[in-house]
Subunit: 197 residues, 2 copies
């Protein structure tokens, strides 16, 4: 009995990741009942983002320009490339304000379970970028099986080129208690221990 | 450094209830990267719903027509009006397939904490509907302090008219264990006990 435009909106919102039917309904009613122009503002923001956002032909990041803001910034260190699975990972790394080099987005990780092989990732595009100006490739894929497999695969591909290849550190997260840390993380942390100067 | 259209979309999505910045970011990237026309479909669904959905002048429900689908359906029992706080509550009641009468949406509940008094609710509109054809008003506001206060207030307003006014039952939810039921619910359940024929 629910009105057709409401049903359509709920159906459309339900397709978003992590949004079930009940949440979609709550969001739909919020949007419809919102005062002023919020609904149109949201509608426009979606259409505009979809229309104006493109993939960077160099690194595969999503951006409103090509090459993207990182690839086109002369201030970024051109000698280091940080390899990530997803554009979102770039945002996370940028928040640390620690890294000033370039990025390369693979677009996922090797996962036999999901049928994703090396050929489905932007690995050839990475290899094509590895000229003599590049002195280090940091592998910042996820710390799970898929991410580790991908990092190992990419490292093996780069090895013949003689470029330094590093992997982000495994260890105990900031603020964590040893008592509640799982064995795998704890043994990684022990193995990766560093000398205090 | 994030591209402006992405930032705008994230900011707009963050205004949705229960959607924090991180979730908004996840949704934004999903929308942008979605294949085909999903982003435009969602954008259109929002704008269309906002444009075409109106408030029913009789019951206050949101619908694509006025009077709404319930108020205009001759098959609904015109003698019973179920009073709810919100349009969403109608959907919940409809799912039970138990109720075939009409609805009245108050648009909230009396809440001194939030500065919502009886005058902010659609109570006068309810009173105006209570003609001789109405034989029962079911008060289906929430079972919390605000909902109970509102139910009591509306019941007192209706009393002089001599129309039967009922309150939905307090009790233990289906599937619940007594062991884990709070005292207030349990004492409501005891108080509301019914004879088994």
């Amino acid at each position: 009995m629910q009105a057709a435009p409401i049903q359509r909106l709920i159906a459309s919102l339900s397709k978003l990741p992590g949004i079930g039917r009940k949440t979609a309904q709550r969001l739909a009613y919020f949007i419809i009942k919102s005062d002023g122009d919020y609904a149109y503002e949201l509608s426009d923001a979606i259409a505009e983002a979809k229309k104006n956002v493109k993939y960077c032909s160099v690194c595969g990041n999503i951006s409103d320009r090509d090459p993207c803001e990182y690839c086109s910034a002369p201030s970024r260190d051109q000698s280091v490339i940080c390899v990530v699975q997803d554009s979102k990972d770039i945002i996370a790394i940028e928040r640390t304000k620690e890294f000033k080099g370039l990025y390369h987005v693979l677009g996922g990780a090797i996962s036999p379970m999901e049928g994703i092989g090396p050929d489905d990732l932007r690995i050839p595009q990475l290899m094509a970028r590895l000229n003599s100006a590049v002195t280090e490739v940091i592998l910042a894929t996820n710390l799970n099986v898929e991410g580790e497999t991908t990092a190992m695969y990419v490292a093996r591909m780069i090895k013949p080129l003689g470029i330094k290849t590093t992997r982000i550190a495994r260890g105990i997260p900031a603020g964590a208690d040893l008592e509640y840390t799982d064995e795998a993380t704890l043994s990684n942390a022990l193995e990766g221990r560093r000398v205090i100067d």
